[in-house]
């Protein structure tokens, strides 16, 4: 903690290259928070989906800061491109727009209790992550796309096959579930 605070004390100036990178990082965090807030508190479901896309764009930026542009690209493709569009289709198919103000809600305590519980979980995990003395290990390998492909097809090949099987079963199951009841 001593080295961390001393390193934080003499950070880069705003008008240097490192300072500009730090500013972009802060903007990325702001995008994540605004998107997540919009996705979890908005009353219209379409705005929730838009907030999901915005927040996951910020998470892709975080992955880029963590030196893995491949995972950032996959995040943009899968989450922002596929999952958000899928949920948007679900909203269009199964959410009537005039249903937002139902008014028959009995447990009004759900929102404040949920906020309190989420704040406690967030505080506990943050304190745990900051206070722990994490132990680092010497690096072996670079972690670029070539190494990802090599490890994926050699030491993790069975998991790769299993995930393909899971996706196949998910496709068939989704078709069966959505198809049932339609003549």
């Amino acid at each position: 903690m001593q080295s961390l605070s001393s390193q934080l004390a003499n950070g880069p100036s705003l008008f240097s290259a490192e300072g500009f990178v730090g500013l972009i990082f802060l903007i990325t965090i702001a995008v994540i928070i605004i998107g997540a807030f919009m996705a979890t508190t908005s009353r219209r479901l379409v705005r929730c989906v838009a907030g999901l896309a915005v927040s996951f764009t910020g998470v892709a930026g975080i992955y880029y800061f963590l030196m893995s542009p491949f995972v950032a690209m996959m995040q943009m493709l899968i989450y922002v491109g596929a999952v958000s569009i899928l949920i948007a289709f679900a909203v269009m198919l199964a959410a009537p727009e005039d249903h937002t103000g139902s008014g028959s809600r009995t447990n009004v305590l759900a929102s404040p209790l949920g906020a309190g519980m989420a704040a406690m979980v967030f505080a506990a995990l943050s304190i745990l992550g900051i206070k722990t003395q994490w132990q680092s290990f010497p690096r072996q390998g670079s972690g670029d796309i070539e190494q990802i492909g090599y490890v994926l097809l050699t030491s993790h090949s069975m998991v790769f096959e299993a995930i393909s099987l899971v996706l196949l079963i998910a496709i068939i199951g989704a078709l069966v579930l959505a198809r049932k009841g339609r003549s």
Binding site: C48, Y63, L86, G129, A170, L177
Partner: protein
């Protein structure tokens, strides 16, 4: 400025992951509709992915493993979203509603 150096520390990314997880927990508890809960569960998975990537960047000896783990989490999340959306459509066809208050048959 000290705050501009935040992106070099593991703790920052762990706090971001905890933040996404907290938003997901709040959404799962407080949302009224099934689709809102599905969106919140995506936030929980994103928080765990950010944690894996942070440990992969700062601590792990083999820096490809965490990225592969995150890719697997993405695949699981995509399968989960597809199944959940088809369940939502089936539920809407039977109950004409996706409000969690309306989906009770036993009225407990």
């Amino acid at each position: 400025m000290a705050i501009l150096n935040l992106y070099n520390f593991l703790g920052t990314y762990l706090v971001i992951g905890a933040l996404l997880f907290g938003f997901g927990v709040y959404g799962l508890v407080a949302r009224k509709t099934v689709i809102g809960m599905l969106i919140a569960s995506e936030f929980v998975l994103a928080g765990s992915s950010v944690n894996f990537m942070a440990f992969n960047r700062f601590l792990a000896p083999e820096p490809a493993i965490g990225q592969i783990f995150t890719l697997f989490i993405m695949a699981i999340a995509a399968a989960e979203a597809a199944i959940a959306v088809s369940i939502v459509i089936a539920v809407y066809r039977n109950y004409k509603s996706i409000d969690t208050e309306d989906l009770v048959d036993l009225h407990g």
